[in-house]
C-alpha cells in the first residue's frame, strides 16, 4: 500500500487546491499516469502517479484545499500494508557518529559549558563580578551570591572571595599586597608574600598555637543583636587578628611640634585661588612626604617578612597607604611613589583617593601594593593610638589629634601645636633604637620647615 502525500510543488508551497481527479477508486494506474490537477499559489500542475497499482482511496474532493504532507491518494502497489509513503526524497546516509576522526579542532572551552546555574541563580539580585572572579569563586567552591563586594560599584573582587573563604587567610584587606591577576604589575615587582596557613577558629580549638584558647561566648544576659561577620568587617577582623597574632608589635611614641609646618600649610592654602579646595594641603600630606623621605634611611620599616623563604624583603619603592574611614568600613588607599611626587601632588592624591574610597568608586589598583601605612585618628580625637600593622608591611604610624599645648621651649613655656605619634613596628625586622631614630628624624623634619623643604 502506498500513501501519496501532497509534495511541495513549488519552492516553499504549503497547500494546493484540488481542481480535478483524473482517476477514480478502483482504477488501475501506471507510474507517471496523471492522477489529478492541482493549483498552488504558483502554478496549476498535473500530478503524475508515483507508483503503478490500483487506486484504493482518494482523500479529497475537487475544490478542497490540501496541505502539503497530507495523504491524498492511497495506491495498492502490491507492497503490502503500510509499506511506504511518498514525498520523502532519499536521505543522506546516516552520519558517522562522533566528531570527524581527523578533525584537529581546538577543544571547546569547558568552563562556559559547565553552567553554574544552580549556584548563582538563587537570588533575584545577581551580585556584580567580573567573569574571571566568578570563575575563581567556582574554583574556590564559593557561591558568589553570598559574597558582598567591596570593589568599584560594589563589585566582588578576588580579595572579597579570599576574605569570604573559611578561616583566616592572609591578605584580606583591600590594602593588602595581594597579587591581583588583573592588576597591572608595575616596574617594582616584588616577590609575593605567601599567605600564612589558614587558622581555624572554632570553639575549643587553638589553631595549634600554644596557650591560645578560642571559646564561644557565654549566653548574653540581656537583649542583644547578632550580626554575622560580613564583608569588609570580616576582612578587617581576619586581617587584624592575623597581623596581631603573627607580628610581634612594638610601639614607640612621641610628640611632634607642628606649629611651624602648620603655618607653612596655611600660608600655602591661603594663596590658592578661592574655590580650589582640591588643592588644599592637609597635615597628612606633610607627614606622608616626611615618612617617604625618611624610609629610605630606615629600610626595615619599608619591608616584609617572607616566611616561606625565610627572607626579609626590603622594598625600594615607597607606596604610602593611609587609613580612611568610609561608610563601608576601613579602607587603606595608597599614594604610590610618594617619594617621587611633589607635596602638592601627594595632597591631591590623598584628597582624591579619600573621596573615591568614600563614594565606593575606588579601584583595586588604588588599594593595593602599599609598603607603609599611616593611620590618623586626629580628626576625631584622642592622644595616642596603638595601631596594628597592615600586614605584610613592617610598620605603621598612628597620628593623634593636634592640640595646642604648653611646651618648654628655650626655657620658656610657649603654646605650641603638638601632634602625638606612635610608630608600631615588627620587632622581627627592627629594634627599638632604630624606631626611636626613625621617629626622631621624622620629628626633626616636620618641626623645621626649612629642613622639611630641603628634604622632600
Amino acid at each position: 500500500m502506498f500513501e501519496f502525500k501532497l509534495p511541495d510543488l513549488g519552492e516553499g508551497i504549503h497547500e494546493g487546491e484540488l481542481l480535478q481527479w483524473h482517476v477514480a477508486v478502483g482504477d488501475t494506474v501506471k507510474e507517471d499516469d496523471p492522477l489529478c490537477e492541482m493549483e498552488t499559489d504558483k502554478a496549476a500542475v498535473t500530478i503524475p502517479s508515483p507508483r503503478s497499482g490500483t487506486i484504493v482511496s482518494l482523500n479529497a474532493e475537487p475544490g478542497e484545499t490540501i496541505d502539503v504532507g497530507h495523504v491524498f491518494v492511497v495506491i495498492d502497489d502490491g507492497s503490502g500494508e503500510g509499506a511506504g509513503t511518498s514525498g520523502s526524497p532519499p536521505e543522506a546516509a546516516a552520519p558517522e557518529p562522533g566528531p570527524a576522526k581527523d578533525a584537529e579542532a581546538p577543544a571547546p572551552e569547558a568552563a562556559p559549558q559547565t553552567a553554574p546555574a544552580a549556584k548563582e541563580s538563587g537570588s533575584g539580585n545577581r551580585v556584580l563580578a567580573a567573569p574571571a572572579t566568578r570563575r575563581l569563586a567556582r574554583e574556590m567552591g564559593i557561591d558568589i551570591q553570598t559574597v558582598s563586594g567591596t570593589g568599584p560599584g560594589g563589585r566582588v573582587t578576588p580579595e572579597d572571595l579570599k576574605a569570604h573563604d573559611s578561616g583566616i587567610t592572609g591578605d584580606a584587606t583591600p590594602a593588602a599586597a595581594v597579587a591581583d591577576p588583573g592588576t597591572p604589575a608595575g616596574d617594582n615587582d616584588i616577590p609575593e608574600v605567601p599567605e600564612p596557613a589558614s587558622l581555624v577558629l572554632e570553639p575549643g580549638g587553638g589553631a595549634g598555637i600554644p596557650f591560645l584558647e578560642i571559646t564561644g561566648i557565654p549566653e548574653p544576659d540581656g537583649p542583644v543583636e547578632r550580626t554575622p561577620f560580613r564583608s569588609l568587617r570580616n576582612k578587617v577582623a581576619v586581617k587584624m587578628t592575623s597581623s596581631s597574632i603573627l607580628i610581634p608589635h612594638v610601639a614607640h611614641m612621641d610628640e611632634i611640634d607642628v606649629t611651624e609646618i602648620d603655618e607653612l600649610r596655611k600660608t600655602y592654602n591661603s594663596r590658592l585661588e578661592s574655590g580650589d579646595s582640591q588643592g588644599k594641603l592637609t597635615l597628612l600630606a606633610f607627614v606622608v612626604k616626611a615618612v617617604a623621605a625618611k624610609l629610605k634611611a630606615y629600610p626595615m620599616f619599608n619591608a616584609s617578612v617572607d616566611l616561606a623563604a625565610n627572607d626579609i624583603v626590603y622594598k625600594k619603592f615607597y607606596h604610602i597607604g593611609f587609613a580612611a574611614d568610609t561608610p563601608r568600613g576601613l579602607m587603606v588607599p595608597v599614594v604610590h611613589d610618594a617619594d617621587r611626587q611633589s607635596l602638592a601632588g601627594v595632597g591631591y592624591r590623598i584628597r582624591h583617593l579619600a573621596e573615591k574610597a568614600r563614594t565606593g568608586d575606588i579601584g583595586v589598583p588604588e588599594l593595593t601594593r602599599g609598603t607603609f601605612t599611616i593611620t590618623n585618628v586626629g580628626a576625631i580625637g584622642g592622644t595616642h593610638v596603638f595601631p596594628i600593622i597592615n600586614s605584610p608591611e613592617s610598620a605603621i604610624l598612628g597620628l593623634g589629634r593636634v592640640e595646642k599645648k604648653p611646651v618648654v621651649l628655650d626655657d620658656e613655656i610657649r603654646i605650641r601645636k603638638m601632634l602625638p605619634v606612635t610608630l608600631c613596628f615588627d620587632h622581627r625586622v627592627a629594634d627599638g633604637a632604630q624606631a626611636a631614630a626613625f621617629v626622631r628624624d621624622i620629628k626633626t623634619m616636620l618641626e623645621n620647615s626649612l629642613d622639611f623643604m630641603s628634604q622632600i
Partner: protein, 324 residues
C-alpha cells in the same frame, strides 16, 4: 640592507614571485605600462610582457570573472582592484563563484587567486577611496582576507597569498604604503596566523592594517605613563581568524581592546569579541572595548581624521580597560 616602504616591498615580491613561478599573472586597470596607480606593479610589464601583465578593460567583474577561469585553468592570477571602493562591481563574482567553486564542484575545481586592493582612510582621497570594508569579504565563506601592516610583513604575506590554494582578498592599507620605511625583518608570516608583536601581561590590544601604527604608538604612551605591560597582536589574517592566538593572550591578560579602522557594527572587532565571549569569558576582568570608526558613511577628508580611530582614542580605551 636599505630601508624600503610597503609599495617597494610588494613590488619586489611580485618581481620575485613572477620570476620563480611562470604561472603567476597580473591583471587589472593600469597595472601594465603605467605600473599601477600606486606603482605596486611597476616594471613588471617590461620584464614579463603583456601576456602575463594584462592591462584590462575597466570592468571589475570581468577582471575577477576572467581570473577565476584562469585560476581553474592552472594559473595563479594576481589581480588588482584599483581601489577597494570599486571592488563592489565584482562582488557577485566573489560571492557567487570564486568563493564557492571548490564547494560547488566538491573540490574538482579550485580558484587560487589573489585580489589586491588598496583600502582605508587617512590619505585625503575622494569619495569611495577611504573605506575599510574587509568584512564584506570576510563574511564570505571560502574567501581568505589578509591585511599587511608593514613593509616587513607585506611581502611575505603577499607571497603566501599567491601560493595559497584559495581566493585571497589582499587588502593593502594605502595610508601605510609610503608613510614609513623599514629594514625588512625576516619573519614567518602564514595566512591564518596572527602575530604577537609585543608580548605583555596586563592587557591585550588587537589591531591590523594601518591601525597597527597608531596602536603601537598608543601602547608606548600607556607603557611609559603607567608602566603597564601590553600585549600587542597584529591580526594580519581577518578570515579565517586566528582565534587561538587571541584567546591565549586574553586568557593571560584578562583584558582586551580591539582597534579597527572600519565602522563599528558587524565588523571584525565584533567577531573577535564574540570569540572571546565563547572561549575566554571566564578569564575577563573587564569588558572588551573596541575603538572603531562610527557607523556613518565615511566622511570626505575634511572630517575623516575626526572619525577614524586615533592614538588618543586608543590610549583612552586602554586606560579605561586597565582601570575598570
Amino acid at each position: 640592507m636599505a630601508k624600503i616602504n610597503m609599495v617597494q616591498a610588494l613590488n619586489t615580491t611580485l618581481h620575485d614571485v613572477m620570476t620563480e613561478d611562470d604561472t603567476v599573472l597580473i591583471m587589472g586597470e593600469d597595472v601594465g605600462v603605467n605600473g599601477g596607480v600606486f606603482r605596486v606593479t611597476d616594471g613588471l610589464y617590461e620584464k614579463f610582457g603583456r601576456d602575463r601583465v594584462i592591462d584590462s578593460p575597466i570592468a571589475e567583474a570581468g577582471i575577477l570573472g576572467t581570473a577565476i577561469g584562469m585560476a581553474i585553468a592552472g594559473l595563479k592570477p594576481v589581480i588588482e582592484m584599483q581601489f577597494s571602493g570599486f571592488s563592489y562591481e565584482m562582488m557577485h563574482q566573489m560571492e557567487g563563484n570564486a568563493s564557492r567553486m571548490r564547494n560547488r564542484s566538491r573540490g574538482q575545481f579550485t580558484v587560487p587567486l589573489v585580489v589586491r586592493m588598496p583600502y582605508g582612510g587617512g590619505v585625503r582621497a575622494l569619495e569611495h577611496h577611504s573605506e575599510s570594508k574587509e568584512v564584506f569579504y570576510a563574511h564570505t565563506a571560502g574567501v581568505k582576507v589578509v591585511i599587511p601592516s608593514s613593509p616587513s610583513n607585506a611581502g611575505p604575506l603577499l607571497k603566501a597569498a599567491i601560493n595559497d590554494p584559495d581566493p585571497v582578498v589582499f587588502m593593502e592599507p594605502k595610508r601605510s604604503y609610503r608613510s614609513f620605511k623599514e629594514t625588512i625583518q625576516p619573519g614567518e608570516y602564514t595566512i591564518g596566523k596572527a602575530e604577537v608583536v609585543t608580548p605583555g601581561e596586563d592587557i591585550t590590544v588587537v589591531s591590523w592594517g594601518a591601525m597597527m601604527r597608531d596602536t603601537l604608538k598608543a601602547a608606548d604612551m600607556v607603557r611609559s605613563e603607567r608602566g603597564a605591560s601590553l600585549e600587542i597582536i597584529d591580526l594580519m589574517t581577518i578570515s579565517p581568524m586566528d582565534a587561538a592566538t587571541i584567546i591565549a593572550s586574553v586568557k593571560k591578560t584578562g583584558r582586551c581592546v580591539v582597534v579597527q579602522e572600519a565602522q563599528q557594527s558587524f565588523g571584525p572587532a565584533s567577531e573577535i569579541i564574540a570569540l572571546i565571549n565563547d572561549q575566554a569569558l571566564m578569564y575577563l576582568e573587564a569588558p572588551v572595548k573596541r575603538v572603531t570608526m562610527y557607523d556613518v558613511i565615511m566622511p570626505l577628508f575634511a572630517r575623516e581624521l575626526m572619525y577614524l580611530p586615533s592614538k588618543e582614542k586608543i590610549v583612552r580605551a586602554i586606560q579605561e580597560t586597565l582601570d575598570f
